[in-house]
């Protein structure tokens, strides 16, 4: 079923820019919340790190509609401003995901699915981690799966991103009962159980921002 609106089923440069800017807003709003999540099972800095990082991201974001260039710039800013575990992990995520998109000003659903897959593989490799270890991957991986499945249905980009964000939220909540196996939370052993992973939470927030930005643009 083809969509009536022009370019539906795709993500455009301005949408990606809107996503990035919305992510920065949302992370600033949730700075304290993310840091609080990082307190019982981490070192109380995740919100500070992500907010600092995304502030730099927005500041250094290049002009133009090159989606790959924008996402690569996000990666470089995060790598050079976040530090900690999240910096290189999110940095690698955007860097590995951005590579096939350099020069593109419009991205199809298939390309976006590949972006998610590349991004997640980057995190897994860099972090020697996988789903179920109570990390950002527990939000990212189900979101990627949900996106692919929803988009396969009828190519509805806003709906697919909405499904991705919803899956990320579920995945984020699913980290609560998990015992951490990577990152600082793993030092706590069984005491890590019962707390929501801060990285999974920031991942959900970023994906929700993506969905919101595209939905708004599609209106």
């Amino acid at each position: 079923m083809a969509d009536a609106r022009a370019g539906a089923g795709t993500v455009t440069g301005p949408m990606v820019r809107a996503w990035i800017e919305k992510s920065a807003e949302v992370l600033a709003e949730n700075r304290k919340y993310l840091t609080e999540l990082d307190s019982p099972i981490g070192d109380s800095d995740h919100g500070n790190n992500m907010d600092r990082g995304y502030k730099a991201v927005v500041e250094k974001l290049p002009e133009g509609d090159d989606i790959g260039a924008m996402l690569k710039s996000v990666a470089m800013s995060l790598i050079s401003k976040v530090g900690g575990a999240a910096g290189p992990l999110y940095g690698t995520m955007f860097l590995d995901g951005s590579k096939p998109l350099i020069g593109k000003t419009v991205v199809s659903g298939e390309e976006l699915a590949q972006f998610f897959a590349d991004a997640i593989n980057g995190v897994k490799k860099r972090g020697r981690s996988d789903v179920g270890m109570k990390t950002m991957l527990d939000a990212l991986a189900p979101a990627s799966d949900a996106f692919r499945a929803e988009f396969a249905k009828d190519g509805d980009m806003p709906a697919s991103l909405k499904a991705a964000a919803a899956a990320a939220k579920q995945g984020m909540e699913a980290t609560i009962p998990m015992q951490a196996q990577r990152g600082r939370a793993s030092y706590l052993g069984e005491r890590s159980i019962g707390h929501q992973d801060p990285g999974a939470t920031s991942s959900y927030l970023i994906l929700q921002a993506f969905s919101d930005a595209v939905e708004e643009a599609a209106k």
């Binding site: 290189p88 196996q181 030092y187």
Partner: protein, 355 residues
Amino acid sequence: MKKLINNAEDVTVEQLKGFGLACDDIDVHFDPNFVNVAGGVKDRVAIVSGGGSGHEPLHGGYVGLGMLDAACPGQVFTSPTPDQMFEAGKTVNGGRGILQIVKNYTGDVLNFQMAADMLRDEGIEVRNVIIDDDVALKDSLYTAGRRGLGTTVIAEKVCGAAAREGYDLDKLAALCKKVNIYGKSMGMALTSCTTPQNGTPSFDLPEDEMEIGIGIHGEPGTKRDKIKSADEVTAILAGRILEDEAYTRNLSEWDPAKGDWVDVEVTDITFQKGDEVIAIVNGMGGTPLSELYTVYAKLAELTAQHGVKIVRNLVGNYITSLEMAGVSITLVKTDEEILRLYDAPVKTPALRWGI
């Protein structure tokens, strides 16, 4: 929040500024932030380390003759970013390669790896050696592995002396790995601590409780317990260190032949009767020096009971968590090489002898 700071958002910069003014032999750089020995390095391996701020004197306080050539401080309790190590490495590179000493925290490991890759792209040979000496953590398969604690200080001292002696990069990396498998640490906290950015304590610890098995990032430990006497606390920490079984794990290192990062299986020593060790009784930042001597008294008794002899000791604040009250104990087995290099002259803001 009760702190002597001006700008909670970036205390690191104002602190580095004062550090630079106070230390004649050290240059301080901003954006990216790093400190290095004035005059740089000529014709020998350079040694770079770093990590989150808030652990002072680690690492900046160990920059100087016979120890580190550069240190990269991240935000408080947040590992530094690759551009810091990249610029620091380029600044101190003396043409014979760079040894990066990295404490085993996911953030540190990843950021130093990225920096190593960047430096290698500039034609500089780099080896990263990971320090993971925290016996509070038992397994590495289901955790991020043992954290880097006090052995880091000894590794920096010993490798710094070896670099001055002219060790090449391979030999120096091998020495650093030896110090790591020779060293074991464990820490505990009586109080939490407050990062300037957050303004409230990282965790709550009731008046009658303590955390056992902490790292250095103001995080809770592996276990919470009722407060005990200094002797009992020392017995817990020293007992775990002295009785720690051979610990085997994979550590990532650069394979110059393969041109890639590879996993190498590494196994720690266990302490044996007759071993001679360097002991650190380390304050977490807010514990009076005098209390550390009470811990030392018991530690000396316990090591003697195990037939282990303390031949050198450091008692004081060497690797801290802001104003946290607590203590960590480190024992590093020595041999002729390690002891000779440990005793060699050192002139840094925090460690100095023989010169």
